[in-house]
Each structure stands twice: as structure tokens, then as C-alpha cells.
């Protein structure tokens, strides 16, 4: 895995373009190498982060960014290499050591205990600072006010929305008096307005002399907030970029080492034949305390053959429940679902799948795969009653194996064979297997929830192509994605979901991610006109 540095970099300057550092750099990583079974996650990485700057780290999925940050945070030990903090060499055994050195990390996935209060989550591990009672509460209020985080210490975390959780995560770090903040993809779940608010916070921190290391796949954001950018590819630093003189396209190509694919899809294939009609869908959930809340409220839409309907929305606004209701995994309290002229409102999941619904689930580990089962059994999953997987009541392992080989070939699933367990494939390859499986049964309707989440660019392009191709042949697609570019690029029609309701619609040809984002936070509704919103 020896990559010649900057082999295709447009801006392969290895020395930082910004002014010379004043005093010791906040973080110096030298020759960091980390190996996992079968992967070299980090290979001889060198990074210098100057004090009082926002330093961005970019790279493809699996490039090794998170691993590197976990090493810096003491969660993982490097196999080789050294770390220096403020000029002093350190050796971290666990996150506690890093915290003591003034390092704080906000992880890619939330690290919060749902059933504990905000206060408990914040003080955990640092109880010595202000205890776990009144003093701690006061300290939290103080920090919250100082940075305008608006955090309520006694709320239960499970009652918080994603943006609030993100703020709790940041507060956790500040509470510990961290001077060096690591933010691993903090914006992935935020809408643009929330991102702006976060960046304001970051700039405030920077002005107080704190150092921020920032990871994101959204290159526009990176360019807007970072002082310096380091690019990682396949575990090694391939170069750095000056945000002032670089475009997102250049950055992306530096990251990937090739041209960036785009989800654009303009030639319309929409027909007038409705394939899926959902009407008046209502779903009330009862939570652990027996209190009812409305999760889906009078949701209705139609998808025609050859149409991609995109649904935008902040996570947790009912998209997952909508998908589960259409799949028959949840019984709605009211409403009908008609697929290709047949009312399937009461049909079990299996029948719906047999009737031609393909499903790419949001969480492939939870809903898409049997991680401990071999690939060929995963190929059967969800289609056990269909050929070639079974004959009558019996499984046909031979045919299923052969067909798995075919999918592995056609969809470029990188694996040494079909007997390995799904768990041993990387996320992207797992996703390719799922897409291949669902497409193999020629669905009439494809429900694709975040189909390219956590998938690297190459695989992303492939999946987009597959969706487009099938659409041309009359496939109807219900697309749910947090990636607004993907959503706008692939959809023929766009709807916005907010608090269980479809509150707005938009034309993907004209809408911008910012406009969509504002509707996602409930700030706009109805038909979103491109100009109308810009004027406001």
C-alpha cells in the first residue's frame, strides 16, 4: 500500500501555506502507523496542527481519519509513531490521559447514554471537577450560556434532537476545559442552518485560542471554516491544501485521486402510471412511559413508474417509520398503501417483498444483513421464498450460491469468496451486496434509505448508476437521504418531512440545499419556490 505522495495532487504542497507558527504546535503527529487485521488504517502519517487554528482533515471513507483521531485521543494505541502535544511528547494509555492533556473529542457517532440526563452525560468521567450535583449544574449552565449552546442540564438525552445532542457533545468537551477539540464529522446529521450555528461556535472557540481539528466529507464546509486542510488517502497523508486558493472540485480530486462523480440525473423518465400510492398514513407510537406520540401524521404521496421521489428531512422526523410502514414492519393506525393497483395495507412484509418491493435499509447492520452468516445466506435473506433461493418449501443452496457468485461479479463486491461472513466485508462492499441482492429480483418499487451512506466514492457512483438504470426501465424509487446533493441530484420530485408530516415540496431542478435545509427545520413549508425563498 505504498502510495507515492501527491501522485496526482493539484496542490501537493507538503508545507503549510499559512504563516509560520508562533510557539510550539498544538499537535504534532509523526510517523503514525496503525494496523488492523487485514487493513493498514494509518500508514506513516505526519500532521502538524498549529495552535489556535481550525485544521480540517479530509479523505474518503475508510481513509483512516477516525482511526488517527482515536489514536490522538488515546482510544487506540498506534503501532508506530509519536504524538507531541504543545511540543511535549506524550504517551496515551486511555482517553483519560488525553483529557488530562486538554484534548477533547466529539465522535463521529454520538457517545451519549440515552437514559441518563445531560448533566450525567457531561460530568461522567470528570466528576472531580465540580462533583455531580449543584456545582456541576451551575458550571454547565455557565458554559452553555457563554457559548450560546442552550443546553438544559436536567433533560434526558433521549428526549433531545440531533442538533441538541451535538451541542451536548461539544459541551462535554468544553466542560473538561479542553484546549484542543477534535470534531469527527460533526455536521453529518445537521441541516445547513445548524451547521452555520456550529461554525459560529467554532469561530468563537478559535478566537479564545482553542485549537480545533475538524473532519468532514462536505468539502464546501471545510473550505469555509478551516484554516488548514490535510488530505488523507488510504491511510497516508497525500498533501495539504490552502482553503483560500482551492475549490471543492480540486479538493475532492486530491482526496480520491480521480474525478468526482455526480448524482445529476436530468433526463426525465417519469410516466403517468402510479405505482405506489400512500394515503392518510397515521402512526402513533407509545413510548416506554406509555405516552402516545404521533410519528406519522396524514402522510400521503404517489410515486409513478420511472419516478424517483426524494424525501428530505432531519433524521428522526418519521422517515424511518414511513419506510417501515410501507415495508409492513410497522402497522400504521390508519391509511392505505396501494402498490401497482393492489391494496397492500394489510399485507405482511414478506408478501410485500414478493409483490416487488426492493429495500435498501438505512442501517444495513440492523436491517440488511446477517453479519455472522456467509454471503450466500445473506443473498437469500429477504427473498427466501423466491427463486433461485428456494424450490417449494426447501432452500436451494446450490442455486443460491451460484447466484451469489454472480452478484459478487456483477456488482464488484470485493471478497475472497461467498463463504466468508458478511461481517468481514467493509461497509461499502456490504452495501454493494445488498444493492445487488435487491436489484436481482427486479423490483417494481425500490425503497432506498441512505443508499450511499458510508460508501466510498467509487461505489457511490456505481449505486447511483444502478438506480438510474432501473428507473429508466420503469422502476419507482422512494429515496431517503441525508446527503442533500444526492437527494436533489437523483430525485424527480422532492418532499420535505417534518415532525411526521410532509410539509413542503420542491422542484429538484431549481432548489438549493440551503433552501431545502430551511424547510427541514420547519422554517418553511408549502411549495418551495427557488426565488421566493432567496428573497426572504
Amino acid at each position: 500500500m505504498d502510495h507515492r505522495r501527491g501522485e496526482c495532487a493539484i496542490n501537493a504542497s507538503t508545507s503549510p501555506p499559512a504563516p509560520a507558527p508562533s510557539g510550539a504546535p498544538a499537535v504534532e503527529l509523526r510517523g503514525i502507523t496503525k494496523r488492523f487485521p487485514g487493513v493498514v488504517a494509518n500508514h506513516d502519517i505526519d500532521i502538524t496542527v498549529r495552535s489556535g487554528t481550525v485544521h480540517a482533515l479530509v479523505g474518503e471513507n475508510g481513509a483512516g481519519k477516525s482511526t488517527l483521531m482515536k489514536i490522538l485521543y488515546g482510544m487506540q494505541k498506534p503501532d508506530e509513531g509519536t504524538i507531541a502535544i504543545n511540543g511535549e511528547q506524550v504517551d496515551f494509555h486511555d482517553p483519560g490521559d488525553a483529557i488530562a492533556r486538554g484534548i477533547g473529542m466529539v465522535h463521529q457517532h454520538f457517545m451519549l447514554a440515552d437514559n441518563l440526563t445531560v448533566l450525567e452525560n457531561v460530568v461522567l468521567g470528570s466528576e472531580k471537577l465540580h462533583g455531580i450535583g449543584g456545582r456541576a449544574r451551575a458550571a454547565i449552565r455557565e458554559i452553555s450560556d457563554a457559548y450560546g449552546l442552550g443546553v438544559r442540564p436536567d433533560a434526558l438525552v433521549e428526549d433531545l434532537g440531533v442538533a441538541d445532542r451535538q451541542r451536548v457533545e461539544i459541551l462535554k468537551v468544553l466542560y473538561r476545559g479542553a484546549r484542543i477539540l477534535i470534531l469527527d464529522e460533526p455536521t453529518a446529521v445537521l441541516v445547513p442552518q445548524e451547521v452555520d450555528a456550529l461554525f459560529d461556535n467554532l469561530r468563537g472557540l478559535k478566537s479564545e485560542g482553542l485549537t480545533v481539528i475538524f473532519i468532514s466529507h462536505k468539502l464546501g464546509e471545510v473550505l469555509s471554516v478551516a484554516d488548514e486542510i490535510t488530505v488523507i488517502r488510504r491511510g497516508t497523508t497525500v498533501g495539504s491544501a490552502d482553503p483560500r486558493g482551492t475549490t471543492t472540485k480540486q479538493l475532492a480530486e486530491l482526496m480520491v485521486g480521480s474525478e468526482l462523480p455526480s448524482p445529476e440525473t436530468r433526463e426525465s423518465t417519469v410516466t403517468t402510471e402510479p405505482l405506489l400510492t400512500v394515503q392518510g398514513l397515521r402512526l402513533a407510537g407509545t413510548d416506554a412511559d406509555g405516552i402516545e406520540r404521533i410519528v406519522l401524521d396524514e402522510v400521503g404521496f404517489t410515486i409513478h413508474k420511472g419516478e424517483v421521489l426524494g424525501i428530505a428531512g432531519v433524521e428522526g422526523n418519521g422517515q424511518a417509520e414511513l419506510v417501515e410502514a410501507i415495508m409492513g414492519m410497522r402497522r400504521p393506525d390508519a391509511g392505505t398503501v396501494v402498490l401497482d393497483g393492489r391494496d397492500i395495507s394489510r399485507a405482511p412484509t414478506r408478501q410485500r417483498r414478493e409483490d416487488g418491493i426492493g429495500y435498501i435499509p438505512e442501517d444495513r447492520h440492523r436491517h440488511g444483513l446477517l453479519l455472522e452468516a456467509p454471503l450466500w445466506e445473506n443473498r437469500i435473506l429477504g427473498h427466501v421464498t423466491e427463486r433461485p433461493n428456494s424450490k417449494g418449501f426447501l432452500i436451494d443452496p446450490g442455486a443460491a450460491r451460484r447466484d451469489t457468485e454472480r452478484i459478487v461479479q456483477e456488482y464488484d463486491v470485493r471478497t475472497p469468496g461467498i463463504e466468508v461472513t458478511a461481517a468481514s466485508l467493509s461497509g461499502g462492499n456490504q452495501q454493494k451486496l445488498i444493492v445487488g441482492r435487491e436489484m436481482s429480483h427486479l423490483p417494481k418499487l425500490l425503497i432506498a434509505a441512505h443508499p450511499t451512506r458510508g460508501v466510498d466514492v467509487g461505489a457511490q457512483a456505481q449505486i447511483w448508476d444502478q438506480i438510474r438504470e432501473a428507473r429508466r426501465e420503469g422502476l419507482a424509487v422512494l429515496l431517503i437521504s441525508a446527503d442533500l446533493d444526492e437527494l436533489i441530484g437523483l430525485s424527480d420530485t422532492l418532499r420535505v418531512m417534518y415532525r411526521g408530516r410532509l410539509v413542503a415540496d420542491a422542484d429538484p431542478a431549481t432548489i438549493t440545499p440551503e433552501e431545502l435545509g430551511s424547510a427541514m427545520t420547519g422554517a418553511a413549508s408549502g411549495h418551495l419556490e427557488h426565488d421566493g425563498i432567496e428573497d426572504r
Binding site: G38, P348, G368, E372, I395, R414, E419
Partner: protein, 368 residues
């Protein structure tokens, strides 16, 4: 792919071998600590177990344990912990014995009828836990344990003189009316005694278990639920229905557990009917890793140890030693399997990684 499979087979054997070795070491230490020399004890155990009548004894016991293991394993395969096999088989055997004693029709009809009764009773009793889990969210671990106790009390209620029980004054024993001799199951006479004919049905049950789980759609669904309930649900399996169905199957199999004893040995259900086999079944299923052949090996091993207990006692050792060995083996087995499983997974990931690296290198060469 060939080499791959061979290594997998090696890995599969590694766990139980590791566990038995571990157990032997611990047992030897226990013996040494209590001032006894371990090798003679092991020698006694092996020697004694090797005798023909011992073999018959072991086969007969193993038949029962095997069925119990299967019953437990069905639940385990879908992450359902049916701790209640014990209550299920006792209740089933009891009512089957009562039905068998109450009539006198040709064995060819009556024997299947008795077996059917047992399976139905076992299934119904197990289904209570299934229904409670599905409709009320009660953990099957807790409910089956409670149902075990309740089963014992129900039997106690009916197994009384004048109810379904008959008192044998001389023997001080209450039991159900004996099953007429026309409805005794055949057996295989050997030099060391009679091997229960029910062993044939146990083998059939094992084959059906294997076939049902590995070759049918239903079995696939069941295993899918065991591996990931959420993924199975999304794939179209009704997990609730599957919970109840597998409890029914598990209970029906549990119903068979008492049959070798009832139809081949005691011909009635009395106060001396064996208890606790359901718990042995858990151990046997763990030893056998829920695999039909593995369970057979586990059952034979367990029966062998039971037998060896007699041998040890005859030679002046404490028969309780066997309880220690059994406990240690089970613990060692679960650890060994986990270690081997992890090792296998890491190994596989390494292979996948190597493959990917090779592919990447290849691509680079081409593009360069």
C-alpha cells in the same frame, strides 16, 4: 476454497477439544488438591465406561439427553432461552402416561397416540411462555423458570390417588396407571441389556432437526431471527409468529424427552420419574453448539460422565467429582467456542483485507 474448508473444520473441532482438555486439567487439580492421584481416576472412568452394559446405559441415557438437547437447541438457534424444557417434558410425560394408561388399544395406534399427546402437551406448555413474550414482553427466561415450578405443582396435583394417580401401597409410590404391555415400545436386546427402541426416533428427530433448520425456508427464517431479529423482521419474517412457532417446536421436542423412559423403561409416570433432564439438555446443547451431531456427542459425553460416576464410586472415589467435571466442561466449552469464533472472524477479516490489498495493488499496476 478447499483449503479454507479444511481449516474451518479444524477450527470447529478445536473448541470442544480445548474445553475437554481444560476440564481435565482443572479436575486433575481438584483431585490433587484433595489428595488423590488423578490418573487412576481418569483410568477408572474410561475403563468403566467401556464395559458393554455401561455402553447400553450410556446409549439409553444419551437418547434422553439428546432429545432434551435438541429441544433446547431449537430455541437457542433463534436466541430464545427455553429454560423450561424441564417442566415441559415432565408435564408432557405425565399426561402422555395418563392417556396411555387409560386405554388399551393396539400398540400400533396407541404408541403414536401417547407420543403425540406428549408432544402436544409439551408444545402447549412452552407456548405459554411464547405467548407471554410476544404479547406482554415477558422474558422467556423468567417465564419458563416459573412454568417449570408450576408444572411440578400441576403434576403433584393430578398425581394423587383417585385423580390420575394410582397408589401402590406396597411400594409407597403413586404413579399413573401402567401402559398396557401391548403398547410398550420395542427395544434391542444386547449382552449388556436392552437398548431403548426410542433411540431410533431420537435419530429421526435429529435428522428432522437438521433438515428442518438447514434445508427448509422455515429453518432459514428461524436461523435468521437468531442471528439478527431486526434483519429477519425486515426480511419478511414475522418474529412474533416465529417466537411462538419455535416455542411450540421446542416444547414438542421437549415432549419427547420423557418418552424413552415412559415407553421403554417405566411404562408409567410415578413419583420416581426422572427430573432435571431439561437442565442437562441446556448443557448438552451448549456442548454441541446447537448442531445435531454436536448435540449427540455432547449427550454421549454427558451420559458417559454419569456412568463414570458409578465407576468412581465403586472404586472408592467421590461420585460428586463428576459434577465438578461437568460444570467445568460447560464453562470451558462456552469460553473455548467464543475464543475460536473470534479467532475465526479475525482470520477471515485478514483474508478479506489481503484480497482487497491484492486487488488494489493489481489495479494500481494497471493504471500506472
Amino acid at each position: 476454497m478447499k483449503k479454507f474448508d479444511k481449516e474451518r473444520a479444524l477450527l470447529a473441532i478445536a473448541a470442544p477439544v480445548l474445553a475437554v482438555i481444560g476440564a481435565l486439567i482443572v479436575t486433575a487439580l481438584v483431585l490433587l488438591a484433595t489428595g488423590k492421584e488423578p490418573f487412576t481416576a481418569f483410568h477408572v472412568m474410561i475403563n468403566y465406561g467401556d464395559k458393554t452394559d455401561s455402553q447400553v446405559y450410556i446409549l439409553n441415557k444419551a437418547t434422553t439427553y439428546y432429545l432434551a438437547g435438541l429441544a433446547v437447541a431449537v430455541g437457542f438457534r433463534m436466541n430464545l432461552f427455553n429454560i423450561g424444557v424441564d417442566g415441559q417434558y415432565r408435564l408432557a410425560a405425565f399426561f402422555a402416561a395418563a392417556v396411555g394408561g387409560a386405554m388399551s388399544i393396539p400398540g400400533i395406534i396407541q404408541v403414536p397416540l401417547i407420543i403425540l399427546t406428549a408432544m402436544v402437551v409439551g408444545a402447549v406448555w412452552a407456548a405459554i411462555a411464547g405467548v407471554l413474550k410476544v404479547t406482554r414482553g415477558v422474558s422467556e427466561v423468567i417465564s419458563t423458570i416459573m412454568l417449570n415450578s408450576i408444572a411440578g405443582i400441576v403434576i403433584g396435583y393430578f398425581l394423587q390417588d383417585g385423580r390420575l394417580g394410582v397408589l401402590d401401597k406396597n411400594a409407597n409410590m403413586v404413579s399413573t396407571k401402567p401402559i398396557p404391555s401391548g403398547s410398550h415400545l420395542f427395544n434391542f436386546s444386547t449382552g449388556g441389556g436392552a437398548v431403548d427402541g426410542f433411540i431410533v426416533l431420537a435419530v429421526v428427530a435429529g435428522v428432522l432437526y437438521w433438515f428442518g433448520l438447514n434445508r427448509t425456508r422455515f429453518g432459514f427464517d428461524l436461523r435468521a431471527v437468531g442471528r439478527s431479529q431486526s434483519a429477519a423482521e425486515a426480511s419478511g419474517v414475522s418474529v412474533k409468529r416465529m417466537v411462538i412457532t419455535s416455542m411450540l417446536i421446542s416444547g414438542a421436542l421437549a415432549g419427547l424427552v420423557g418418552m424413552p423412559t415412559l415407553l421403554n423403561e417405566s411404562y408409567d409416570y410415578g413419583t420416581d420419574f426422572p427430573v432435571g433432564i431439561g437442565f442437562t439438555g441446556i448443557a448438552v446443547a451448549l456442548l454441541g453448539r446447537n448442531n445435531p451431531v454436536g448435540i449427540a456427542v455432547g449427550a454421549v459425553l454427558w451420559a458417559f460422565l454419569d456412568r463414570a460416576a458409578n465407576g468412581l464410586e465403586f472404586e472408592g472415589y467421590d461420585q460428586e467429582l463428576v459434577g465438578v467435571i461437568q460444570g467445568v466442561i460447560v464453562l470451558a466449552v462456552v469460553i473455548a467456542y467464543e475464543l475460536v469464533r473470534r479467532y475465526g472472524l479475525t482470520r477471515q477479516q485478514r483474508q478479506v483485507g489481503a484480497e482487497l490489498a491484492a486487488a488494489a495493488a493489481h489495479k494500481q499496476e494497471v493504471t500506472a
